[in-house]
Subunit: 234 residues, 2 copies
């Protein structure tokens, strides 16, 4: 029997993503996906991030906390393969994995130090709101930037991109929410990636996900994503 | 209080490195540093690595098990800064960190499947023998290769490289150990990086570390690393 290692969060993510559906499948694909990582005690010390601002990118090691512990299988069906071909869990970045550990490369936008608290502003994030962060590390380009590496079944960024259109009703809600200035851009970048499940891509079917306190209702028709409604969640 | 997440190893590292001293400070710097990752039950299933051979590089998420749990400070003194300048622990890759989680990018040399066991042969490893592995993930160049990223205090590979010379006695031991065919190359690549502690770099001082079952005794003189003795450990 091997030892068990207890891990305690050093931080927590605050992001627009309130559910798994809609979250980009890799970081960096949606620059408008901003998030804040709040450090938790005893790690929330300004000294703990000294010098971090010299790095443009940051590794976030986190727990896929919305996936129940222990729910993993030896193979998974990645969306990149259309959802019907199986690869090994260790050949995938699926959240359903033995230790539920996630690894995301995000852009560091700023380090905020306030009395009693340290937080990091990042972008290009694919992190659910409330995600427990186990570690933060600087990205080392001289070691970790290997453009010639072979990327298996995911050699390049996903190609299918949709045009995105907002209905008049949706535009009216956006105009009434100056407190969410980047919501339009975020929705546009998310839907352009076509977040529909690989196995369920009918035209005109209505989909929805929540960003901040807003339910985004959209469908795809004629190769275009249409944002039908934006409803403030009750 | 935040939740604690118990993590169980999915594998264990078998490598030449029997102590921390001498291990390259980043992966990839020493191509001859080969290691084997043996999967552990319940993860040691051939299905769990299906498709992994399509990727040239692999992330290893592991525990710095030789660093006692809880022994971390908000700042560390990275060797890259000469060992006397402090940076935040989250701006460093130091093993002395809150959750002792390490992250290494290694080259995947092969996947070995035998009855009852799965193991991965990797190179460019900076992993201590016996390291518990928490997760394995494919490297995704389209997301993770960012050659333009800003690398803070470690923007490029370390420059100081030593020439390496073997004494006649050391050559005789190498000749008598055909079971370790890459030991000479490994020692050469390790010493070229000058593994002396930043704060303790006198010429002619004798240093030693163990690789496999061999104690390597060496010193630096006149800008050259000299392997004086290779002793089979008792």
């Amino acid at each position: 029997m091997s030892e068990t290692y207890p891990m305690q969060p050093v931080g927590v993510v605050r992001s627009a993503f309130r559910e798994k559906f809609g979250i980009p499948r890799q970081p960096g694909l949606v620059p408008a996906a901003e998030a804040v990582i709040e450090l938790l005690p005893p790690a929330n010390q300004p000294e703990a991030v000294r010098g971090l601002e010299g790095f443009s990118h940051l590794w976030v090691v986190f727990v896929f906390h919305a996936c129940p512990a222990g729910e993993w299988h030896a193979t998974v069906r990645p969306p990149r393969l259309g959802g019907n071909e199986r690869v090994g869990v260790f050949a995938s970045r699926s959240p359903f994995r033995p230790n539920r550990i996630g690894l995301s490369l995000v852009k560091l936008e700023g380090v905020d130090i306030r009395p009693g608290g340290v937080s990091l502003r990042v972008s290009g994030a694919d992190l659910l709101d409330g995600t427990p962060v186990l570690d933060l590390k600087p990205y080392l380009p001289y070691v970790e930037a290997l453009p010639g590496a072979r990327g298996g079944f995911a050699p390049a960024a996903p190609e299918s991109r949709l045009a995105v259109r907002f209905s008049a009703a949706a535009e009216a809600v956006l105009a009434a929410r100056p407190d969410l200035p980047r919501l339009r851009e975020l929705i546009g970048q998310l839907l352009a990636l076509d977040p529909r499940p690989a196995t369920c891509r009918e035209e005109d079917r209505l989909f929805g996900f929540r960003l901040h306190d807003v339910d985004v209702r959209w469908r795809v028709a004629g190769g275009e994503a249409i944002v039908e409604e934006l409803c403030t969640a009750q």
